[in-house]
């Protein structure tokens, strides 16, 4: 089973990102589960959301404490939240940031095996006209982890948002997929 934890801020769509990742993995033929941290959501406050992906039905109904993959939608969270808390050995961290690998690693409490960086905010602003990074960051997830293909990510995005909105968000994901830089550490 692969367990993914998303960190974002209320309004950025971390919960939707977790759901779309689950949908994409489902389209790949996997069993999936996606859920928000069962808290009280407020716009701007730190939010976590989770996705589980497995080859067999997922029965476990608890929160995720030791993720395989951490996805950070908002770079400012690195200042206040220990995003690598509980990260498994060999874990992957994917961050939306314009900063360099060195600058980011300085902020992380635990060094991941793989670090993927993408400036998803700029991509979202250019493609969508809004700083909502939940769909673009999924392009980075596809690139860095291989748990889902970018094709299925695009398909899942279009299943979630209809019409032009779906097309634009899929384009943002594709662009992020191409621009994500992955570092093996």
């Amino acid at each position: 089973m692969i367990e993914v934890r998303f960190h974002g801020r209320g309004g950025q769509g971390a919960v939707t990102a977790a759901n779309i990742l689950a949908e994409a993995a489902f389209l790949e033929g996997k069993y999936v589960q996606a859920f928000p941290f069962f808290g009280v959501e407020r716009r701007g406050a730190p939010v976590t959301a989770f996705t589980r992906i497995d080859d067999k039905p997922i029965r476990i109904k608890t929160q995720i404490y030791e993720p395989d993959i951490v996805v950070v939608l908002d770079p400012s969270l690195l200042e206040t939240v220990d995003v690598t808390a509980g990260l498994k050995e060999g874990g992957i961290v994917i961050i939306n940031t314009e900063k360099s690998k060195e600058e980011v690693l300085e902020k992380l409490k635990k060094k991941p095996a793989k670090l993927a960086l993408v400036d998803a905010t700029t991509i979202a602003l250019e493609v969508l006209g809004l700083p909502i990074t939940n769909t673009s960051i999924l392009g980075a997830v596809a690139k860095a982890t291989g748990i889902v293909s970018i094709d299925k990510v695009e398909e899942a995005i279009k299943d979630t948002f209809s019409g032009e909105l779906g097309e634009k968000n899929a384009k943002a994901a594709r662009e992020a997929f191409e621009k994500t830089v992955v570092y093996e550490l």
Partner: protein
């Protein structure tokens, strides 16, 4: 129809649509709201022909469902916690009038202090209202439960309302894969309601809400209990038919998991039992002979099944995500009561877990297993009720 990745609440809404409910009357409350929002969306999109009655309270929501059901319509609603409590009076009116209304209650802790998280005390406090109660482990069971509920409720020998119960957030807002059969197969399984009596059958007028003097009231109560007894048989029949049609069997009111050779078992209801099954597999690898018994139907209570199960195990750890103040966990209380006049007397211990959404994990279940094993070896309880998570 294909499988869909949906939340527990959307599973409930799809099931209501696929059951071709005719009237929905509801009032929003977290974490139930997305059920009725989704139904409203189906109506707005023209995907479902449902009379939607927006009301000013849950009490009125149930009153409107009662009115609709009395005219012969298939009526549905959904609520949680304080909303369910506000409905309490009307719940008696629904069962007393023998109306097959189906409601989804999203288990949420009762305030104060305010909480929106999972806890079974809201629905269990409605134990004596004459409603049947089904606890879902996952989103698929929410969906299947609603479809079966109408068939059981509308059965001519039953005519009683059903509450389908799912966990706040753990199911209601968690996305999971749900298999939804083709509409024509559902229609075959669940044909339109054929009520015995309706308010609108003017050739056969009936009185509803009449006075029951001491000469008659008693028999009305007895008839409800007879209907509950019939429901035990109908639930198994319907569950078996569902399994034959849709390959998911619900013929057992208690789902057994690896209990055949188990020394002791975990017993509980709802979503926490998924995690328990996961833990059972891990514990078995460590040499524990354990199993799990998931009580699906709390009303009518599966007495026979519990007796058969209890006869063959040395211990039962009853996991209650609920509490009856001044006594004990509610499932524990019921289970002990059922076994008293039988020859099945395993050691039973009550673990109070997960109240108000406290996470209940695989490692917690392992700790409980260790404690149960010690108790069985000693042949004596350390204590009967354990507030498992209590900060000390």
């Amino acid at each position: 129809m294909p499988k869909k990745v949906v939340s527990g609440n959307y599973a409930a809404a799809y099931a209501a649509k696929h059951a071709r409910v005719e009237v929905v009357a509801a009032y929003p409350i977290t974490p139930q709201t997305s059920i009725i929002e989704k139904i409203a969306e189906f109506i707005a999109n023209g995907e479902a022909e449902i009379q939607y009655v927006p009301v000013e309270s849950e009490h009125s929501a149930m009153a409107a469902c009662i009115g609709a059901s009395a005219t012969g319509a298939r009526a549905f609603t959904a609520t949680s916690a304080q909303g369910l409590a506000l409905m309490h009076e009307m719940l008696h009116w629904a069962s007393g009038a023998r109306l097959p209304i189906v409601m989804v209650n999203v288990n949420r802790a009762m305030a104060p202090p305010w909480s929106v998280w999972d806890d079974q005390t809201d629905s269990l406090a409605q134990r004596d209202t004459g409603w049947m109660q089904f606890y879902a482990e996952n989103n698929q069971e929410v969906y299947d439960g609603v479809l079966m509920a109408f068939k059981v409720a509308e059965h001519r020998k039953v005519n009683l309302p059903v509450m389908i119960i799912e966990s706040a957030f753990i199911l209601s807002h968690t996305y999971d894969i749900v298999d939804m059969p083709p509409q024509e197969e559902i229609d075959e399984f669940l044909p339109p309601r054929e009520p015995l009596y309706t308010l609108t059958d003017f050739d056969n007028p009936i009185a509803v809400g009449a006075l029951g003097t001491p000469a008659d009231y008693y028999e009305f109560r007895y008839k409800i209990e007879k209907a509950m007894e019939e429901a035990r048989r109908v639930i198994k029949e319907v569950g078996k038919e569902f399994g034959e049609k849709f390959r998911r069997d619900y013929s057992q009111m208690i789902e057994l998991y690896k209990t055949d050779d188990a020394e002791f078992i975990f017993m509980g209801m709802g979503s926490l039992m998924g995690t328990v099954k996961e833990a059972v597999d891990l514990l078995r690898k460590e040499g524990y002979k354990v199993g799990a018994a998931k009580v699906r139907w709390f009303r009518p209570f599966p007495k026979e099944e519990l007796y058969k199960l209890a006869k063959n195990v040395e211990g039962i750890a009853v996991l209650d995500r609920n509490f009856s103040f001044g006594q004990e966990g509610i499932l524990f209380n019921e289970a002990k009561g059922v076994l008293y006049n039988t020859d099945a007397h395993p050691i039973m211990k009550n673990y109070i877990v997960g109240l108000g959404g406290r996470d209940f994990t695989v490692s917690d279940i392992k700790t409980i297993a260790k404690n149960m094993k010690e108790i069985i070896e000693r042949g004596k309880l350390d204590r009967e009720i354990e507030w498992y998570h209590l900060k000390r």
